[in-house]
């Protein structure tokens, strides 16, 4: 399954209420959920209910945005490896912030799986999943350019906004250039796994490809800078973002999100703690 960079914005073109939420609100929603999830204590079984609720909320939003399933699966697959790797180790580790460990299983060669380690691994992984879901949700429901514009409206400094705006634009240009270089190489029978060709030569070719792309991007930068000068650009220039008012729907979603977070913190705690204490 391949999704090329050119297609990665595909899902953002849909028109659903979720896509329609103002970019600023979406950023704040994601920010709130991520910060809340990361801030939850690292050794608490109650967390799972909270993560569950947040994740459920995010998935409901994803479903109402009618995002393509295989696309979402691919996005997850792309983001998972390193985080998953780190989590998988946890059951075997003695985390420094806990002292009592209960061994629940002993593998050959003296490897011990502890309950605390497993719990921590699971929690850290759950945090990671919630955060990734939030990011995938916002990046699939708004284009990169909208995201930058919204961040700008939220107060991102104009230098960074300009940097990101231009970067986003040229990522797509260079993605095409790289694709074309690759195609040209294929046309002339280049194959990195070709056994008849010295490895050194192949590595050199890769180096050339990279330098070629780099030089082109640099020259493109010079030309673009010139064309910006032609249009009166100077160091104090702004990026045009235009005005946009927040609507009722936008506030509704912001409040809904904050409500869900409060619900997660309050209600779920009481749901479990109260019956248990009775």
């Amino acid at each position: 399954m391949h999704i090329s960079l050119g297609e990665i914005e595909r899902e953002t073109y849909r028109k659903t209420p979720i896509h329609g939420i103002d970019g600023r609100i979406k950023i704040l929603m994601a920010l709130a959920i991520i910060v809340y999830a990361v801030a939850l204590p690292r050794m608490d079984t109650m967390n799972f209910m909270k993560f569950g609720l947040l994740e459920l909320y995010l998935i409901v939003l994803m479903l109402s945005a009618r995002l393509d399933f295989s696309y979402i699966a691919f996005r997850f697959a792309m983001a998972l490896p390193f985080g998953f790797g780190l989590a998988v180790f946890q059951p075997f580790l003695r985390q420094p912030f806990t002292t009592d460990f209960t061994v629940i299983y002993t593998l050959p060669m003296g490897l011990e799986i502890t309950r605390e380690g497993t719990l921590f691994g699971a929690i850290v992984f759950a945090k990671f999943i919630v955060c990734i879901t939030a990011v995938i949700l916002i990046s699939s429901t708004m284009s990169m350019s909208e995201l930058v514009a919204s961040a700008r409206r939220l107060g991102l400094p104009r230098e960074l906004a300009l940097l990101f705006t231009m970067m986003v634009r040229y990522i797509f240009v260079f993605w095409n250039i790289l694709g074309r270089i690759r195609t040209a190489q294929k046309t002339r029978c280049f194959d990195i796994w070709n056994k008849n060709v010295p490895r050194r030569w192949k590595l050199t070719q890769v180096g050339y490809t990279i330098s070629s792309l780099f030089i082109r991007s640099y020259e493109q930068g010079e030309r673009t800078y010139q064309s910006m000068l032609c249009r009166g650009y100077n160091a104090d220039a702004h990026v045009y973002v235009g005005k946009k008012k927040l609507g009722t729907v936008d506030f509704f979603f912001l409040i809904l999100t904050l409500g869900i977070i409060i619900l997660a913190q309050m209600y779920i705690t009481s749901l479990i703690v109260i019956p248990l204490s009775k």
């Binding site: 990169m144 000068l229 009166g232």
Partner: protein
């Protein structure tokens, strides 16, 4: 008064490549000028001096009679709008609207005025409805038009276009030529166009300059320029096809006068036939 004037303009790239060699060029308000020349003649290099993008190695550039210096360079850029050959060099904002608004924004105009200018220039190039489209999903012709709109929104007095029809199919080229002529006629904008497609030259210029190896070696009406056959051939160019055909007839002894546009040639040939 000349709106653009260069005096003994010389440009040397990297201390080695002499791209412009003592060029004296003038443009009066309202003129339609074509600059023709082979690949590497120095057309683009000359254009980049018109609004101070490149600095002369020697000589000077005058806009409305004033030499360009650091103080009035922004005025020069407001007066002379330069459209690059490759629209990808020029369009960098994520939506068409934002891109067109970039120039006016830099002029420090108010939101309302910017809105209005963006709307009007998109109307002029007939791209209304494209405001929110991403430039990387447009066709070559549409990108060219966005690039022109971005310059028009700054309301320049001179429009300088570097090979505007390159890469366009005949249909697209004809529409673009019409657009350029309309801007000259109805908005009173001076237009200066670089190209090596000689067939379109009689359609969009009243005055033609030939460049070769960094020098302007010919300047006159299309009729005058294309009559100096030798000059044209020496510079890797050719006559418009219509003129070539008539010349071939002349050589066979047919008493026709050389013409450069289809309509004129038709009338001339009809005269001979009847």
């Amino acid at each position: 008064m000349n709106i653009i004037e260069t005096r003994n303009l010389t440009h040397i790239y990297r201390g080695k490549i002499k791209a412009l060699d003592s060029v004296n060029f003038t443009a009066r308000p309202g003129e339609r000028i074509a600059l023709i020349g082979a690949n590497g003649a120095g057309k683009s290099t000359l254009f980049k001096h018109f609004n101070g993008i490149l600095k002369p190695t020697s000589g000077e550039v005058l806009i409305k009679g004033e030499p360009i210096n650091n103080k009035n360079i922004l005025d020069a850029r407001r007066t002379v709008g330069l459209v690059f050959q490759d629209p990808d060099d020029q369009i960098f904002a994520p939506t068409v609207k934002q891109d067109v608004a970039f120039g006016p924004m830099n002029l420090g105009l108010s939101e309302d005025v910017i809105e209005k200018r963006v709307r009007e220039s998109l109307e002029t190039v007939r791209l209304t409805g494209f405001e929110e489209r991403a430039p990387h999903h447009l066709s070559t012709g549409e990108k060219k038009k966005v690039a022109i709109a971005g310059i028009l929104a700054m309301q320049p007095e001179v429009l300088v276009l570097d090979e505007p029809t390159a890469g366009l199919d005949p249909g697209g080229a004809v529409r673009l030529i019409r657009l350029i002529n309309e801007m000259n006629r109805y908005l009173g904008i001076t237009t200066i166009i670089a190209t090596h497609e000689v067939d379109i030259v009689p359609l969009l210029a009243d005055r033609v300059c030939i460049m070769s190896s960094g020098k302007i070696i010919g300047d006159g009406s299309p009729d005058e320029i294309f009559s100096t056959d030798e000059l044209i051939r020496k510079t890797h160019l050719r006559l418009p096809i219509v003129a070539q055909l008539i010349e071939m007839l002349q050589e066979e002894g047919v008493p026709v006068k050389v013409k450069f546009t289809l309509e004129e040639a038709r009338d001339e040939l009809l005269r001979v036939v009847k």
